[in-house]
């Protein structure tokens, strides 16, 4: 049975809160992983899975499901946590993240976990796969949609722009890309490592519909996703302006938390802060 979606903002916020807390617990348990980008992506992830996407946790390969691809694969813990909350698997499995034999690989593996649509982690590739899916849906006159989350650092990859060009050509209005614009990447701030701004103008120049939102404001995210679904003839980019490490004071906007797991003490502090939200 299709998942019962909600448009209640407080409910979605509460899902997001649990996702964030689970991300912290998972990474601490795994003693590795990427908290910064997982936390920046969380509100968009919660809005997609609990308010917007058509899906069925009892039938992950349902033909008519909407598809989501986490192209910035290192941020998959947020999606795993959301999937567990939606009932795709037991929340206990989250603590197997990154362990030998786990279905929850450090970067997503569709051959291991059914609910994963594409194996990603080598940056710049998920968008092309999402484009191919959107084209297949059009060929079949199917009404399912494709959502793809990319990173701002990831947008330095050339293949992203190949896909952006092609999505405009093929008029895949059933494709919505969310760019998690958290300003950080491993080696530093995106603006220093390799500037990508102004990114809205780049997408517009490629004939995309572009919407800018506060990526932590559920109402803005929902409105943008609705506007994307109503936009015909071209794909939509939602530029989600986010804070890397959102919700944990000592991680926020701190590049050092791109790919570092919290210690036990840090976990406790982070969970206290998140619980208080």
């Amino acid at each position: 049975m299709a998942f019962q979606l909600t448009r209640d903002v407080n409910t979605i916020k509460s899902y997001a809160k649990t996702i964030r807390m689970n991300v912290i617990k998972m990474l601490t348990e795994a003693a590795s992983g990427h908290p910064g980008g997982s936390l920046s992506a969380t509100d968009v992830v919660a809005a997609l899975l609990f308010a917007v996407m058509r899906h069925d946790p009892t039938n992950p390969k349902w033909d008519n499901r909407d598809r989501f691809i986490m192209s910035k694969g290192h941020c998959i813990p947020a999606w795993y946590a959301a999937l567990a909350q939606a009932g795709y698997f037991d929340e206990k499995e989250l603590c197997t993240l990154r362990r030998l034999g786990s279905r929850l690989q450090g970067h997503p593996d569709r051959c291991k976990l059914e609910a994963i649509e594409a194996s990603t982690g080598s940056l710049g590739q998920g968008l092309s796969i999402a484009l191919g899916m959107a084209m297949a849906a059009k060929m079949n006159n199917a009404d399912w949609r494709v959502y793809c989350m990319i990173g701002d650092g990831e947008s330095q990859e050339g293949q992203i722009w190949e896909a952006v060009m092609a999505a405009a050509k093929f008029k895949t209005d059933n494709l919505t890309v969310i760019l998690d614009h958290n300003n950080g990447q491993i080696d530093g701030y995106v603006a220093d490592v390799m500037p990508i701004m102004p990114i809205e103008e780049k997408f517009r120049a490629f004939n995309w519909h572009v919407i800018g939102v506060d990526g932590h404001d559920i109402n803005q995210i929902l409105n943008a996703l609705d506007e994307a679904a109503d936009t015909k003839g071209r794909p939509t980019l939602i530029l989600a302006n986010t804070v890397k490490g959102k919700g944990v004071s000592f991680m926020e906007n701190n590049i050092g938390w791109h790919g570092k797991a919290p210690s036990k003490e840090e976990e406790e502090k982070a969970l206290q802060e998140l619980a208080a939200i």
Binding site: R110, E117, A118, G132, A136, E162, M165
Partner: protein
């Protein structure tokens, strides 16, 4: 004897396949008149997608289409398409998407365009990826059957095709069997294992070797991965040595695959012949095959040297 480029046979087979299987879709990167996907494009414009000169995105989009139930053939020159190795590695291999990657214009056989357009390392890189089948047909009938097979087979396939025309080597009624080498001519002294554009030269070399008193067995290896290890080992036991020949770098191609099997299971004399770890260059196809000694004369000379050395 009829002669046809395997890319031409591929293009014709693909256009036929479009009638039989509605899920088949074709993607090209601005080379449809060279890869011969233009026939499919003319016949099935709604199932043909021109991606422009952007192979990585084409491969990724093919993976997405495959994951949504289509059977995509993503096509370009072998060097360009396998040059997008990381995209193939992640979006096709690791993702295990049912994509058929087609690389035409393999080897020095492309001629005048020179090295930049020659697929000479494609088998080496593709062989390093798990669960991708590698097929290189040697004539029209084999190509057409291999294309039909690839569409039916559920899993990633890399197919390697020639620009140059190749004479028929298989008879009417030939049946392509995935993973099985084909004995084209019997022989008891030496086994020559050839693939693609070198197979007919190997057959001609057999005649020249016979004049030198060497009885060569000729095997066509159309499936490079998975390799027909049973056949390789049987030939190693039944003849005095194995000689591989391919229009590809001798590192990483058919010769390496055969060497791996022999070393581990039945060490036997082996000579790898082909492009001897050098880059190619411009020239006429026949001139290049002669200069790089992978035409009948070159094969016969190298094979005779090898045989004389091991039979002393």
């Amino acid at each position: 004897m009829a002669k046809k480029a395997t890319r031409q046979a591929f293009g014709e087979a693909l256009a036929e396949l479009g009638d039989k299987n509605q899920d088949v879709v074709v993607l090209d990167a601005d080379l449809s008149k060279s890869t011969m996907t233009c026939y499919f494009a003319d016949k099935f414009p709604d199932r043909f997608f021109e991606f422009g000169i952007a192979e990585a995105n084409m491969i990724g989009a093919a993976a997405g289409m495959a994951l949504a139930g289509k059977i995509p053939f993503a096509c370009s020159f072998a060097c360009f398409i396998t040059g997008r190795y990381d995209t193939i590695r992640m979006s096709v291999g690791y993702t295990n998407s049912n994509v058929k990657i087609i690389g035409t214009h393999v080897g020095i056989g492309i001629g005048e365009d020179g090295y930049s357009q020659m697929g000479l390392e494609d088998v080496a890189v593709m062989r390093s990826l798990p669960n991708i089948t590698i097929i290189q047909p040697a004539d029209e009938i084999e190509t057409k059957q291999a294309v039909a097979y690839a569409a039916e087979y559920d899993g990633p396939v890399y197919m390697r095709l020639t620009r140059q025309k190749l004479p028929d080597i298989n008879q009417d009624g030939y049946v392509f069997q995935h993973g099985k080498g084909v004995e084209l001519a019997p022989g008891n002294d030496l086994t020559i294992l050839a693939t693609g554009g070198t197979v007919y030269h190997a057959l001609d070399a057999k005649k020249q070797l016979a004049e030198k008193g060497i009885d060569a067995r000729i095997i066509n290896i159309h499936t490079i991965k998975p390799l027909d290890t049973d056949l390789v080992l049987r030939c190693a036991k039944e003849t005095k040595g194995l000689f591989t020949v391919e229009d590809h770098n001798i590192i990483g191609g058919l010769g390496s695959a055969v060497a791996e099997v022999l070393c581990e299971h039945y060490p036997a004399p082996l000579k790898r012949w082909g492009i001897l770890d050098v880059y190619g260059e411009s020239g006429g196809e026949a001139d290049l095959y002669h200069a790089y000694k992978i035409d009948a004369e070159g094969i016969a000379e190298a094979a005779a040297d090898f045989y004389n050395r091991i039979s002393k």
